[in-house]
């Protein structure tokens, strides 16, 4: 049962009637009784929202920043016409553009209602209820009912670092291309044998094969492939802090996506792990063909947890996943004692067997504060910022001294910086 503004308007017009014609309690009672009786008739004549059958189809996923469309099919199984308002309720961050539509549904017919979503945050967005308010023929009153029509749209991370991918792939081909010279060097491995052509380095002649074959045969080399790259995302409390306008974790996800896509194209074996005190995401053996799809799907629902990351346990997880020599990329934030107390003591166990890169999301606000001059407030803020920058620098030096490669950059610059560091390691054969 639901009333509309018309009932109130009718009762207000009735006030004139009462004042002019029947200024008594009986008059008030009579006018109000007529108004309520009309409303009651309207309720009885309104189509029942309960008799509606609803179902959905449409997009299951949407990249952040794009639009998803979810269609709602409404069929009226009741005997009376359903005329009124329909609300398809979504959480605020699903960004439903217009969640209220007018419906007019004669008995036995069906309509499609399209809801456009422009999500404002990554993650799963689950539809709430569909509520229908069906008004009677007079528009005075009606019935209202809700339906549960489950639907989930997974909002994928935007992968803004995507624009850095072509240039890094070109650089990768360059490293490959250097091997077109087919010289033996660091970061190369044996590829194949072929006949000697003039200009080849005589040092690469394979004498044993030459003896077997009859002609002169040289060995060729290519950049090392099939290396193991393990990307570890720290989803503990350091990843929750806001840098710029988004949590640190979002920058970490962008970094992981760019590095994963690049490494998979380079022919390396890529594993992904998100961890704080338990495994939040675990995507093993990413192929170049579906690396982005699988990573994006797994990372979309990742949320920062307000926990201290257990680095000791994380080390055990890493060691159990990467048996052979691997490149372990830990994406975290350097600005807390958590790293000093947690990561530093266990770093030695990792660097003993693996190449470790620590990618840290720096806060550009620190540089902004450190540049503050002019009045005492700004200078005190600059001193505080210098304090933190010195601490970060010292921590980075400590980590570097223990054998880790540290990349500390603001969110926008971190993904390409990590990709470049990876390419450098690859080019110099230190993977």
């Amino acid at each position: 049962m639901v009333l509309t503004g018309r009932v109130a308007a009718l009762a207000a017009i009735g006030a004139v009637l009462v004042a002019a014609a029947a200024p008594s309690w009986a008059g008030i009672l009579g006018v109000t009784g007529v108004v309520l009786a009309l409303a009651l008739v309207d309720v009885l004549l309104a189509g029942s929202p309960r008799a509606l059958r609803l179902s959905r189809d449409g997009d299951h996923t949407a990249r952040l920043g794009t639009t998803a469309t979810v269609r709602l099919s409404v069929r009226n199984d009741g005997r009376r016409r359903v005329r009124g308002l329909l609300r398809d309720a979504w959480p605020p961050s699903a960004g439903a553009v217009a969640d209220r539509v007018a419906v007019d549904l004669p008995a036995g017919e069906r309509r499609l209602v399209e809801t456009e979503l422009r999500p404002t945050r990554r993650g799963d967005r689950t539809a709430d209820r569909v509520t229908v308010r069906s008004l009677g023929p007079l528009g005075l009153a009606g019935r209202q009912g809700s339906h549960a029509v489950p639907w989930t749209v997974r909002v994928l991370p935007p992968f803004q670092a995507r624009r850095h991918l072509p240039s890094r792939l070109a650089r990768l081909r360059e490293i490959d291309g250097r091997s077109a010279v087919r010289v033996r060097g660091q970061g190369t491995e044996f590829d194949s044998l072929r006949e000697y052509v003039r200009g080849d380095d005589v040092r690469s002649i394979d004498w044993r094969a030459t003896a077997r074959h009859g002609g002169v045969v040289v060995r060729t080399w290519r950049p090392e492939r099939d290396r193991h790259v393990l990307i570890v995302l720290d989803t503990g409390r350091t990843s929750a802090g806001r840098v710029g306008d988004e949590p640190r974790l979002d920058a970490a996800i962008d970094t992981a996506l760019l590095l994963g896509a690049l490494a998979a194209r380079a022919g390396d074996r890529v594993d992904l792990l998100a961890y704080d005190r338990q495994v939040r995401a675990d995507v093993p053996r990413l192929d170049a063909t579906d690396v982005l799809r699988r990573m994006v799907g797994a990372l979309a629902v990742l949320e920062p947890e307000l926990l201290e990351t257990d680095y000791r346990q994380l080390t055990a997880e890493i060691l159990s996943r990467a048996g052979q020599h691997a490149l372990v990329v830990i994406v975290t934030g350097l600005d807390s004692s958590a790293v000093e107390l947690g990561l530093l003591p266990v770093l030695g166990r990792l660097t003993r067997r693996h190449t470790v890169m620590i990618a840290s999301v720096a806060d550009p606000r620190l540089a902004e504060l450190a540049a503050g001059r002019g009045d005492s407030d700004a200078v005190y803020a600059a001193a505080a910022a210098e304090h933190d920058r010195l601490a970060r620098a010292q921590l980075a030096e400590l980590l570097g001294r223990r054998g880790a490669h540290v990349v500390d950059q603001p969110p926008a610059d971190l993904p390409p910086a990590v990709a470049d560091a990876y390419l450098e390691l690859k080019a110099t054969g230190r993977l």
């Binding site: 009333l3 509309t4 503004g5 009932v7 308007a9 009762a11 009735g14 006030a15 009462v18 004042a19 200024p23 008594s24 309690w25 008059g27 008030i28 109000t32 309960r50 059958r53 609803l54 179902s55 189809d57 609300r87 605020p92 945050r121 569909v130 308010r133 209202q144 009912g145 809700s146 339906h147 549960a148 489950p150 639907w151 929750a240 806001r242 840098v243 640190r248 949320e303 920062p304 307000l306 600005d335 806060d363 606000r365 620190l366 540089a367 504060l369 540049a371 001059r373 005492s376 407030d377 200078v379 005190y380 001193a383 505080a384 910022a385 210098e386 933190d388 010195l390 620098a393 010292q394």
Partner: protein, 408 residues
């Protein structure tokens, strides 16, 4: 609610009539039980104690016995509670028994007196002069059996009666006044007249009228004599009433059509409230991400420095950062946060050679005493900037406070 269709087919969520019944039957049962209990208790209570001098009360302070006796004598008893009812019921040939005369305000007393009825007041104290001008009440001994000791026929007929508590003194000469049952020398029963000339009887205590003492001594005879004098008796048990002295509310002055229209408008407003109050479906909630900026701790530290005016600390930090950057640009060892004095003097010498400033000035800037006040601190920061801008080689030209020259 018989739909068991699996998703994606919809499922209506609104309760049916049966659901409402299932949900509300328990609370309704409880409410019904409470109501029945209250009604039963009320009936039981009404049989027992009803209050002081209640004509229906059967307990000790009640007066049912007296009311019954009066009715048998042919006296018509009208029980009233409000002043307006009492004034409306009383006439010049009636008796009004006021059980708590002090509860009435002066205007109410005036209205009652103006009816010209005969008044019987039970234990009046503060308002005695308003009823009977010239009289006043004083505390005397507690009620006990007393001799009438006067010429009032009713008292003489009744003889000894239980009176006391309050005595009345003053001029009784107006009309046929009488002073009976003296206690401590003051009459515990006084007869006088009101301003309008009606008789007024003042009783020092209610005890001769109550169920408890009615059958003692001459109490019953005295009570019947005092109250059975006229055909009609108005039994007025006052309740505290708002003094009607205030001017009538302005709404009473409005014409009837305005008031009726206003009531109807109020109904319209209530209907509008119902219209606006109903949501189209429930609110949808969702957990929100952390909104605290990562730099919050830095800004907190800055506020701490500022509040503590820790210039020495701030200057030390600014100098350490400058030394670090200068050492990096000068390719000198200065990597650790605490460079030794040697390293700083070497750095000062290098910078002096590069910028052409005296090495002593540079060393004083980098390691001098802490600034004396905030203005000096601001100047120090600017001086360090100047030094860095001069010390940074031309080709990089980067601002000292922009990009961190630390190799990554």
């Amino acid at each position: 609610m018989s739909t068991t269709t699996a998703p994606p087919e919809s499922r209506p969520l609104d309760p049916t009539g049966a659901d409402h019944w299932r949900r509300w039957r328990r609370p309704l049962t409880v409410v019904a039980f409470l109501l029945v209990t209250a009604v039963v208790l009320g009936i039981v209570q009404s049989q027992a104690g009803r209050g002081y001098l209640d004509p229906e009360g059967v307990d000790n302070p009640g007066a049912r016995a007296l009311a019954t006796l009066l009715a048998e004598q042919g006296v018509d008893i009208t029980s009233v509670r409000s002043n307006a009812d009492a004034v409306a019921a009383a006439g010049p040939d009636d008796t009004v028994l006021v059980t708590v005369p002090d509860l009435l305000g002066p205007q109410q007393i005036d209205r009652l007196v103006d009816t010209g009825a005969r008044l019987v007041l039970v234990a009046p104290e503060l308002r005695v002069p308003d009823y009977a001008p010239g009289l006043s009440a004083a505390l005397v001994d507690a009620p006990d059996a007393v001799q009438p000791d006067c010429g009032l026929p009713v008292a003489e007929r009744a003889g000894t009666a239980r009176l006391g508590g309050l005595g009345f003194s003053g001029d009784l000469s107006r009309s046929e006044g009488a002073a009976c049952y003296p206690v401590d020398g003051e009459p515990a029963l006084a007869v006088s007249s009101t301003e309008s000339g009606g008789q007024v009887v003042l009783l020092g205590t209610a005890e001769p009228l109550t169920n408890e003492y009615l059958d003692d001594d001459g109490n019953a005879a005295l009570a019947l004599g005092l109250l059975g004098e006229t055909r009609r008796l108005i039994w007025y048990r006052p309740i505290p009433e708002q003094g009607t002295d205030a001017p009538a509310a302005f709404t009473d002055e409005l014409p009837g059509w305005v008031r009726a229209g206003a009531w109807q408008l109020a109904i319209a407003v209530a209907l509008a409230a119902v219209w606006r109050a109903r949501r189209l479906g429930r609110l949808v909630t969702e957990p929100l991400p952390v909104v605290v900026r990562a730099s919050e701790t830095t800004e907190g530290r800055a506020r701490l420095y500022r509040r503590g005016r820790s210039r020495e600390h701030a200057a030390g930090l600014l100098r350490a950062a400058a030394i670090r950057r200068l050492a990096a640009s000068a390719r000198l060892p200065g990597e650790t946060g605490e460079p030794g004095a040697d390293a700083v003097s070497a750095l000062a010498a290098t910078l002096a050679a590069r910028t052409g400033r005296p090495a002593a000035d540079i060393a004083a800037l980098l390691t001098g005493p802490p600034p004396a006040d905030d203005a000096a601190l601001v100047r120090l920061a600017d001086d360090l900037d100047d030094l860095e801008n001069a010390g940074v080689p031309r080709d990089t030209g980067a601002s000292p406070t922009g990009k961190d020259p630390r190799p990554s």
